[in-house]
């Protein structure tokens, strides 16, 4: 009996478009007309400028398709096809197809492809649509590079278009105006030696000179803005925008190592304005009512969805979510201050509003709780606590309306314990570090990821200084934190599977936070505090730990990759939840993930486990509980 039916291959084709649309009798004959090839990760299945004669179908593994400029066109696992463009439109290939993991591919000869296309219109239509899509996304990928990623990746240094034009302070106003006219510029830097001591703008000439009747023969130093706000060259375009809108300035001198390298104007930023992030942040800052702020904050999930769709990196997306969150919280605080003033509470005392946890680390995802606290200056008048209490209540309610749930652990400025004078905070931190009680340290770990958001930053700086000095010597404290960092085991099962929740509403789901992102954050924090590192950002902490040798450099780099990948999966999941109207969480069903994602996740969890083991080995007092 003759029987060469390749059932496994035929069944696979039956599950994937456009083969599923073919009559079964035709489909069953296809396997025998195909070849199977194995493509190692990183090798090319097809290259720009090279002829291709097959339609390739990914049987297992994953491929990435990029256009000639390197823009990502498509990425896919089982069932993804490649090669139809050359079969229909002619050789050579205009795309690079690379295996991004070890890939088994079915190769269908061009002749069979043409035979099927002419006999079965549905089959041909599928590839027509796919090619149209591909070209569209190739085009939009280019647009993303010009606009979307620009705002995230562009630094102040990149935006500077020419070296700064400078004058010494004794130059006359008239001469300064001539220089500006000759150079065709709207601002001029006034320097002494190499240091920027002032800036003169068109507007200054109009208001402070002409309108005020000042003699143009006087020195430029008499009408310039002294000690202007400057931006470091590495600041992102987004941060520049925040600074400009908050300080109401239109020109920012950019300095590198203390020396001016140029000026960035609002116009420079407007060239990047197509990005929604810019609109949202800019609009939030202009809102006069809480309702307006809330409405804008509610756009965050949609924004994340867009960024995920544009293939923007996870670290950049969490930075955007953080920036939007910062803008919302700052605006709500400012509006609350206005309302308190209107109700007769007077002007605010000297205080610093600090954010804690993921927001402080610039790693906020969707659905995060609000975590904040207030440092009141020691010299603030009596009654400052009551003022902050009233302020905090307003802000907490506003944030909740904006989609940031109240903190379940009550770590909010509305809790009397978390609005203290500086001396009280210093005492609190000293106790956590030098006389740690295990449970207290666990609850307090969030306070070691803090960042000043608004108010007098020197209050926060004083606390940060204490932490960096005390923490490296707090061996018990570090041991408690270390133990906590290794306590949540990554959800890896025996046979390379995942450990899933067994029952309840989270049945069959995988927690990407506990044992995932959370564990990486915990490990990074221990390494940072051990060495008295100031940064609270997890990526910076890990890379610094790799440099100082606290963590092996390769493990540090792998942890950064693991953080990026898990965060990416988490954001994709959250964006989908938000789009379907449910509350974003960190629990995914492995069955919803591609084989590629599952394997990469397992790899990431293995890296976390290695980091936890390394932590135990590096400090004998850290033990698994």
């Amino acid at each position: 009996m003759v029987d060469v039916e390749l059932a496994e291959v035929a069944d696979f084709l039956a599950e994937h478009a456009p083969f599923d649309a073919l009559p079964e009798r035709v489909r069953r004959t296809l396997p025998a007309r195909m070849a199977v090839r194995y493509h190692r990760r990183g090798t090319s299945l097809m290259a720009v400028g090279v002829d291709n004669h097959d339609l390739m179908v990914v049987r297992s593994g994953a491929i990435e398709i990029r256009d000639a400029d390197g823009g990502l066109v498509n990425r896919g696992a089982e069932g993804t096809t490649a090669g139809s463009t050359t079969l229909v439109g002619g050789n050579p290939s205009r795309f690079d197809v690379v295996a991004i993991e070890d890939t088994l591919a079915l190769h269908l000869p061009g002749a069979v492809f043409h035979e099927l296309s002419s006999e079965y219109p549905d089959f041909a239509d599928h590839f027509d649509a796919e090619r149209a899509d591909r070209l569209r996304s190739a085009a939009s990928a280019t647009m993303t590079n010009a606009a979307g990623e620009a705002i995230l990746r562009t630094s102040a240094g990149d935006l500077v278009r020419r070296p700064p034009v400078t004058v010494p302070p004794h130059v006359t106003i008239a001469d300064a105006a001539v220089v500006m006219t000759d150079e065709g510029i709207s601002s001029l830097l006034v320097v002494e030696g190499r240091e920027v001591i002032g800036i003169l703008t068109d507007r200054d000439l109009r208001r402070r000179v002409v309108a005020a009747g000042v003699d143009p023969a006087g020195p430029v130093s008499s009408v310039m803005t002294a000690d202007p706000v400057v931006a470091p060259a590495e600041a992102s375009a987004l941060e520049l925008l925040m600074t400009m809108t908050e300080r109401a300035v239109h020109h920012l001198p950019v300095v590198d190592g203390g020396q001016p390298v140029g000026v960035v104007t609002t116009t420079d930023l407007m060239r990047l304005e197509r990005v929604n992030v810019v609109h949202i942040v800019g609009d939030i800052t202009k809102q006069r009512e809480v309702a307006g702020v809330v409405a804008l904050a509610r756009r965050t999930p949609r924004l994340v969805e867009q960024l995920v769709g544009q293939d923007v990196g996870a670290a950049d997306i969490t930075r955007v979510v953080t920036t939007v969150g910062d803008a919302v919280e700052r605006r709500l605080i400012a509006l609350a201050e206005e309302r308190l003033a209107a109700r007769g509470h007077g002007s605010p005392p000297r205080y610093c509003w600090m954010v804690l946890g993921s927001r402080a680390r610039h790693e906020q995802a969707l659905g995060s709780d609000q975590d904040h606290a207030v440092i009141i200056a020691d010299d603030a008048p009596e009654g400052a606590e009551e003022y902050i209490a009233a302020l905090a209540d307003e802000v907490v309610a506003g944030l909740e309306a904006a989609g940031y749930p109240r903190c379940s652990g009550d770590v909010m400025a509305s809790n009397p314990r978390w609005r203290q004078r500086l001396t009280g905070w210093r005492r609190e931190y000293r106790r956590w570090i030098t006389a740690p009680v295990p449970d207290a340290v666990l609850q307090a770990s969030i306070f070691f990821d803090s960042r000043p958001l608004l108010g007098d930053e020197s209050l926060h700086a004083r606390l940060a200084e204490d932490i960096t000095q005390l923490a490296p010597g707090g061996s018990n404290f570090l041991a408690h934190l270390g133990k906590e960092a290794v306590s949540n085991e990554p959800p890896l099962g025996f046979f390379r599977g995942f450990v899933l929740a067994k029952a309840g509403e989270h049945k069959d789901t995988l927690d990407l936070k506990r044992g995932g992102v959370g564990s990486i954050v915990d490990v990074a924090r221990v390494h940072a505090l051990r060495t008295g590192l100031v940064s609270v950002n997890t990526r910076s902490r890990l890379l610094a730990a790799g440099r100082t040798g606290s963590l092996s450099p390769s493990l540090a780099a792998s942890l950064v990759d693991a953080l990026d990948f898990i965060t990416h999966v988490r954001l994709v999941h959250q964006a989908a939840q938000a789009a379907s109207g449910s509350r974003p969480d960190s629990r995914v069903r492995p069955s919803d993930l591609s084989a590629f994602e599952q394997r990469s996740l397992r790899e990431a969890f293995h890296v976390i486990r290695s980091a936890q083991q390394a932590l135990v080995h590096s400090d004998p007092s850290v033990r698994y509980s």
Partner: protein, 234 residues
């Protein structure tokens, strides 16, 4: 098993050829074997899998066989084949493994015809199997019964290759569990698709795919093109 270990397949082929009567086995043996220096990129193989009534090559019989050619780095599905053999023997409990019923066997092909066909498709190729001793042992016993001469073939064993792949990573896997070498476990390591086991053509395809993955990994480690000599099963 009488495999004439210690001599090269070429030498054993010549010895067997002298003993074989005219017919399919003699035709097969008269073609020279693929040279050991042949690069893997050009190596012709035939992945083969047999389903049997048991593991005793003298008493048990082959019930079904599946094969698929591998040309260098490409599996040629158009050359795939599958045959059920009409052996005059009760299948018994082994049906629970291979799923072949006595009725299916009764409609099967004449065993000698299938044996001749296997020798024809294997000619000029290297036999490829997972735990190749089983396939070689059954083919040898059948050839000896029918033609009174031994079956000889150059062979590549994916089970032995898997041991080598894993041994190369000893730091990471201090203990090698026997289960890790099984065809389906080995495939899972490479993320290859899950198939239903014990259907001879599927098993042959599974073995061929595993071979491509394994040799791809070994070539990467060797950083140079490998030849049959380096992966041959002896």
């Amino acid at each position: 098993m009488r495999l004439g270990l210690g001599r090269s397949p070429q030498r054993r082929r010549e010895a067997a050829l002298a003993a074989a009567p005219p017919g399919p086995l003699r035709d097969y043996l008269s073609a020279p074997f693929v040279g050991p220096g042949t690069r893997l990129d050009e190596l012709p193989l035939l992945a083969l899998d047999v389903e049997t009534t048991g593991l005793d090559v003298e008493r048990d019989r082959v019930l079904a066989v599946g094969w698929v050619p591998v040309d260098g780095r490409s599996i040629d599905l158009s050359g795939a084949g599958r045959r059920v053999l009409g052996v005059r023997m009760e299948v018994g409990q082994s049906a629970t493994v291979h799923g072949l019923t006595d009725d299916a066997i009764a409609r099967g092909d004449v065993p000698v015809t299938v044996l001749a066909e296997i020798l024809r498709v294997l000619r000029g190729r290297v036999l490829l199997a997972h735990h190749a001793a089983i396939e070689i042992g059954f083919l040898d016993a059948a050839c000896r019964r029918v033609w009174g001469a031994p079956f000889v073939t150059p062979a590549v064993d994916t089970l032995a290759l898997q041991r080598r792949v894993l041994a190369g990573r000893l730091e990471a896997h201090p203990e090698l569990h026997p289960g890790e070498l099984r065809l389906w476990a080995a495939r899972e390591r490479y993320g290859l698709p899950r198939y239903r086991a014990h259907e001879p053509l599927t098993d042959a395809l599974a073995c061929a795919e595993l071979y491509l993955a394994q040799t791809s990994e070994l070539s990467r480690r060797a950083r140079k093109p490998l030849s049959l000599k380096t992966i041959q099963h002896t």
